[in-house]
């Protein structure tokens, strides 16, 4: 089992190194194939590990060696695969394996083909490291690793100014949040003297309430950054500058869910402080609604999906905040499948439309791209939460949780959001695939993606369909060995069925409305632009503008001041002075080495005399 664990963890790293070695060269098919095959190996290993955990109910744990061993600070370099991790690694490897294969087609004509696979595999390795680590420090290392890879991949087309700006934005925002997380981990270590999950959780009751409040709060700040929760959400939409497979893998399925994973993983820390949990739930619900509203009007296909991701992350945090950790994790899993599918479909469309992102310039693509149309519709249905697809089982469950826990406001918000979700999803589908073929105006001849790309998407499609009713039972039985096994049942059957059918009907109506409104659209209607709500939403509630005005610009001014006045005049001068004086010293003493033997011998004698003088002087002083 241990070897399997290592295989699952390190196979992507090997792939990354392989592709990285070829990084500087022009496109080589092998640089894509080898990492993909290694990821399939990793996937197989993960599945076997899942099977093992599922059948025996015991976790696989290994300690590689003592990692950091300074004084009393001792962190063993350990990994473990327990129930939660098993779910995570399977999700990660499934999605990333498919994305890898898909990318072989998607990045076909890109100059940085080899580099891309190197980064992508490195990301998978970091993500696996993150979820498999058995201590907070290892988690943090993985956390930073995925941050770096995300930076590299968002800025993959670094020659584009917007891409490198987005990469920097994502990186910097995450650093701010990571500081909180690091402080949280440091606080844990300071209080408990360990960062290993088992030991930390075993000693939670020893912690002071205030301290626990701080720890959970600080950890959540880290989670907010990575999962792009309000007010650190702006980077996610901008991160769509990266290649689409990256958006599918990192900004939908895996990395952004790391925040949820953290809360689920640290559930034993959150359990004693329901106040924090309630805050998380409220924030989650707010973000769900907030993001969904921005998705309503956006005219950028990828951004719409990104806002949808944001909104779904809100759902997950509601569940996690209310203590329904297994529900959160379940939604994480199903969401990973259908959202990755949605993104990959969007990638196909983008390819077909020559990187056009405005859905108002598309339309009627279902004839040209039948496979993509089916897959994307499937994903959208799943996202909307229509029975019997995956989204229904996980998302409706969250609604139920809110209802059962008597948080009716949250419930209402989430219900409305479900309607919005259905609306914007099918607005997109309708605009892209139905109606008139508006793209003809632009002289584009769309074509379907490579067949193997569609095949790579199909496992995700299958999972998006069956993950709900197929896995729920086993999943619940397995995961609740670790997580609190609260069943959420509405006791009155009348209320229950009313809720289920009510929701379905509500969602159905939303879909129908979207179709009616957008199927017949001929072109974008400029009249709507003067609408106040439209303005508010398309400008993302003016939040980026506010950030720009109140944080970025003053900060830039401050930095400029620090650079010009403090750094250049004082710090640099001092550093330069030290460096040049050391160098000068070298030049001076270099002159001492004249190469003349006599000088050398004299120096030697002189040295002897100096040693003698110092010795005798010291002897005097000692007396």
């Amino acid at each position: 089992m241990e070897n399997l664990l290592y295989t699952a963890l390190f196979a992507p790293l090997v792939g990354s190194i392989f592709a990285g070695v070829l990084g500087g060269r022009s496109k080589m098919m092998i640089a894509g194939l080898v990492p993909s095959i290694l990821l399939l190996v990793s996937l197989a290993a993960s599945l076997v590990l899942l099977g093992h955990v599922l059948s025996t109910g015991t976790a696989v744990a290994v300690t590689m060696f003592d990692w950091i061993n300074i004084g009393n600070f001792n962190v063993a370099f350990g990994f473990q695969v327990d129930q939660v991790t098993a779910v995570m690694i399977c999700v990660v490897t499934v999605v990333s394996a498919m994305v890898h294969i898909y990318s072989i087609g998607y990045m076909d004509h890109d100059k940085g083909f080899n580099r891309f696979f190197s980064y992508l595999s490195l990301f998978v390795f970091s993500m696996m490291f993150l979820v498999m680590s058995d201590n907070f420090l290892g988690l943090f290392v993985g956390w930073e690793g995925v941050g770096v890879c995300s930076y590299l991949l968002v800025g993959f087309w670094y020659h584009k100014r917007s891409a490198s700006w987005a990469a920097n934005e994502a990186f910097i925002m995450n650093r701010v949040a990571d500081l909180g997380m690091l402080l949280g981990i440091a606080l844990i270590y300071w209080q408990l003297g360990t960062v290993k999950y088992d030991e930390v959780f075993a000693n939670v009751d020893k912690l002071d309430m205030t301290v626990l409040l701080w720890i959970t709060g600080l950890l959540f700040v880290g989670a907010m950054g990575k999962s792009a929760q309000f007010p650190l959400h702006t980077w996610l939409a901008d991160a769509m500058e990266g290649p689409t497979p990256v958006s599918a893998l990192i900004h939908a399925a895996t990395m952004v869910t790391a925040g949820v994973y953290l809360v689920v993983r640290a559930n034993e820390l959150y359990a004693p402080v329901p106040e924090v949990g309630y805050f998380i739930a409220c924030l989650g619900a707010f973000v769900a609604m907030f993001a969904a509203s921005m998705a309503l009007v956006n005219r950028d296909m990828k951004r719409i999906i990104a806002y949808s991701t944001l909104s779904q992350l809100g759902y997950m945090f509601v569940a996690a905040g209310l203590g329904a950790y297994w529900v959160a994790l379940f939604h994480l899993m199903t969401h990973a499948f259908f959202k990755a599918l949605l993104f990959l479909g969007a990638g196909n469309v983008m390819h077909a439309m020559h990187d056009e992102l405005d859905p108002f310039k598309m339309g009627g693509l279902r004839k040209a791209m039948k496979g993509t149309f089916i897959l994307m519709t499937l994903a959208s249905v799943a996202l909307a939460g229509i029975w019997p697809l995956a989204g229904f089982f996980s998302k409706d469950l969250i609604l139920e949780v809110a209802f059962v826990e008597h948080h009716f406001i949250l419930y209402t918000v989430l219900l409305l959001t479900a309607g919005l979700t259905a609306f914007y999803s099918f607005r997109l589908v309708a605009l892209i695939f139905h109606g008139e073929e508006r793209y003809k105006l632009f002289g584009i001849h769309p074509h379907e993606a490579y067949r193997f790309m569609l095949i790579a998407m199909s496992p995700l499609a299958i999972l998006a369909v069956i993950a709900g009713f197929g896995f729920k039972g086993d999943y619940f039985a397995m995961v609740t060995q670790m997580l609190p096994a609260t069943e959420y049942h509405v006791h009155s059957p009348v209320v229950y069925w009313t809720m289920v059918f009510g929701t379905q009907i509500f969602v159905g109506l939303a879909i129908a409305y979207a179709y009616i409104k957008y199927v017949k659209v001929k072109a974008f209607d400029p009249a709507i632009e003067s609408n106040f709500f439209y303005k508010l939403l398309i400008n993302q509630y003016y939040i980026p503008a506010l950030y720009e005005k109140f944080i970025t610009v003053p900060y830039a001014k401050l930095s400029r001041f620090a650079w010009k006045q403090i750094d250049q005049r004082i710090v640099d001068a001092i550093v330069d002075l030290i460096a040049t004086s050391i160098y000068k010293l070298g030049e001076v003493s270099k002159r001492m080495h004249t190469g003349n033997l006599s000088t050398m011998l004299r120096l030697m004698t002189l040295g002897f005399v100096i040693v003698l003088v110092i010795a005798l002087a010291l002897q005097m002083m000692a007396k």
Binding site: S589, M592, T599, L606, I614
Partner: protein, 124 residues
């Protein structure tokens, strides 16, 4: 002097200064004051008086090799004196040791011989 290392630091600084000062001083003095002309004289054979003219028939370099070999083997004799003085006391052990010693010297001798160091005219 509160800290025991204070003195050490003082001395490090002192040494560095003394080191640099004395070397630069000696270089300076050597450059400015050394009378170059006398050096030439010092390189002559007797270091004083008029320079000796070159010998018309130089002593062959082979001579030095002979001298070197002579010194080497001559000096090794001193290790035999103690043995010779205490021959009886050292007994068999001393004898064996000395035979080993002489054998090693003989190896050196044969080596020099075979290499032609003892041939007067073979030197190129």
């Amino acid at each position: 002097m509160a800290h025991p290392y204070f003195g050490v630091f003082f001395l490090v600084v002192f040494t560095a200064i003394a080191f640099i000062a004395t070397t630069t001083l000696s270089a300076f003095v050597g450059k400015k004051l050394a009378a170059r002309e006398t050096e030439k004289l010092k390189l002559s054979i007797y270091e004083c008086g008029p320079e000796t003219s070159l010998q018309p028939n130089k002593i062959s370099a082979q001579f030095y090799l002979y001298a070197l070999l002579f010194i080497l083997f001559d000096v090794e004799i001193i290790f035999m004196f103690p043995w010779a003085v205490d021959f009886k006391i050292l007994g068999m052990f001393g004898f064996i040791e000395m035979v080993t010693f002489i054998f090693l010297l003989a190896v050196g001798f044969v080596y020099a011989w075979k290499k032609g160091a003892l041939e007067w005219h073979s030197m190129k």
